[in-house]
Symmetry: C2
Subunit: 364 residues, 2 copies
């Protein structure tokens, strides 16, 4: 269930309300990434304090180690102690990129279990069973997301396979769990169009746009996104997979994207990068040792309300784990504030101005 | 300022109230260790939520990296965002045990700066200047704490030096900061007595008992503790340095000790050990994967109120930093609950029974 509320007049940006089994989400929305069942360094009360509307967890990463714990505690919501919406990604993207020694067959991904070394198959059907065991609200089909610069043959195979797998996933759709397809096609506009059209014909609850922001030049990303979005049903929610940096977020929203997830704020935090309205900064820089002021001017996160930049600098230099947590909280707040600003600007029909002003201040 | 309130009739256990520039502390009390300005993995609100009465920070560890940050933000209390009492240990213990390439001279510890490699001296006078810059409520004199099994000559030297340095520290006592001496003497009862008597004659605001629980057999620890305590002024607060395990805590309290600090609950947490009233457990054990119940039966910590043992097990297996934080919170609560039970039992004149029952349930 997705209701579009306001539409920006100059762009395709829009606000909406997504209803799930665990409550409503106002879009455009940012979902922090909780790959293995936790947003790294944070607990549920940190996330509630930040006003996080929903999370995205990786079905594959949990499955590969065994689902006993999650199932035994009654599913992800009680396992993670999170009663708001949970999305579960299929893991197609991660299987190809990370250290899983895999083969792609028409059946699915065949790989070696890191637990006992046995050959196991992660098929669309297994993927849907995992989503079901996890009890998430929104699930993604298993897709085949080839790396940037893959051959045309590889890209074509990926689109065919993604459509086929998506159809098999939809056949297993269960009540209470929405199923989103993921449009692929690399940076080839004809393949982008075909993938989106084929998936639209099968009819899903929502659509992810995948395979972008993985190394391609900015203009290719934008043109590919435009093709995907314009070939997908306008009224359905659209999820931009793995995108979280302000410039890409604003560009995607102006192209009609509604939902985002990315490890951007939290992963960068753990590497010592923090963000303010002015851009990104390295907390390790010695100049921060004497800065009494909080990390972000005007920021109202827990960290900025309580700690000096100097203290966070000290913690990071000493490799104190608290530093990673504090920077994660701050960076998430910064991204969530951006989304709140976006929603407000669309309601006030000022999205373009908002985006321009934001980006003119924000230097990367 | 220390007021003894109730005394146990069968032992030397007692309750009291310690007044400091940042509020009162009910004793016996446990101070979590915030070596470098943070209790590892936790923020001030976690500690407030746990009802922590005070913290102990290591003056030497902060000094060696430069005090600019702390001084610039107005001292430890504002730096750490902690407005309850802070104790600062001198670091004598750590200099000898850790990787500091040091020499002991009558002047103080001579060592190489890890920052620029230059030879620097950490003397009683420098130590007191550091305490002053940090703005803590209770400070410890610089002591010389030789390892267990040191020669009699080394032990004698340590007692002489500790007395001399304590006198030099007291000469620099400033208003608003209490100064506690640290009684040494290894496990030699005559040296234990002499150290305590010499320090008592100089008159300090309180007394630490140091150099115990560093590898010596339990009976030697107890007999040495008894000698130190009986040779120190009864009315002054007494701090058992670096002791936090239930058996040693209860033994020390029954010998009249009032204040404790130890990395025991938090360091063990980071290694996957958690405690309940029944003893210690290893969260990594596969059996915990399916335990829906919280870590501690009846425990009311944030973790036990919200998460299953299964979830914490999962986080620890996945090396998620949240696991270290959750176990630290739980273990601290377990130690703080022990101290709350001790205080109550002394008030009700049932300390011995309480201690016996606690230890009969608690298997290590």
């Amino acid at each position: 269930m997705f209701q579009i509320r306001e539409k920006d007049e100059k762009t395709k940006a829009r606000t909406g309300v997504l209803s799930t089994a665990h409550g409503e989400i106002e879009t455009p929305v940012f979902l922090p990434v909780a790959t293995k069942g936790t947003v790294k360094t944070l607990d549920f009360s940190d996330l509630e304090g930040l006003g996080v509307q929903g999370l995205i967890v990786n079905a594959f990463h949990l499955w590969i180690k065994g689902l006993d714990s999650v199932q035994n505690t009654g599913g992800l919501h009680s396992f993670m102690r999170w009663d708001r919406p949970i999305f579960t990604d299929s893991g197609g993207f991660q299987i190809i990129r990370k250290d899983f020694d895999f083969k792609i067959t028409e059946e699915g991904f065949v790989l070696k279990s890191p637990v006992d070394g046995k050959k196991i198959t992660y098929s669309p059907e297994v993927c849907m069973d995992v989503h079901s065991a996890l009890g998430s609200d929104v699930t993604f089909v298993l897709d085949d997301c080839p790396p940037y610069r893959s051959s045309m043959e590889r890209l074509r195979g990926s689109v065919d396979r993604t459509t086929d797998w998506a159809r098999r996933c939809k056949a297993m759709r269960r009540g209470g769990q929405e199923v989103y397809a993921i449009a692929q096609g690399g940076t080839d506009s004809e393949l982008r169009r075909r993938s989106a059209v084929e998936l639209s014909e099968i009819e899903f609850d929502g659509y992810g746009v995948g395979g972008l922001s993985i190394g391609e030049p900015r203009d290719e990303m934008i043109s590919s996104l435009e093709v995907s979005v314009s070939s997908l049903p306008e009224k359905k929610p659209k999820h931009m997979m793995g995108v979280g940096s302000p410039a890409e977020v604003l560009e995607s929203i102006s192209n009609g994207m509604d939902i985002f997830d990315s490890a951007f704020p939290t992963r960068n935090a753990r590497h010592g990068t923090f963000y303010t309205g002015k851009g990104k900064f390295d907390i390790k820089k010695s100049g921060f040792a004497k800065v009494k002021e909080p990390l972000g001017p005007g920021c109202e996160c827990f960290v900025c309300r309580n700690y000096s930049t100097s203290y966070v600098h000290h913690l990071f230099k000493e490799k104190e784990m608290l530093a990673y947590r504090l920077l994660s909280i701050h960076n998430l707040k910064m991204v969530l504030d951006l989304f709140a600003g976006v929603r407000m600007s669309i309601k006030e029909n000022k999205f373009s101005t908002f985006a321009e002003e934001y980006l003119s201040e924000f230097t990367t």
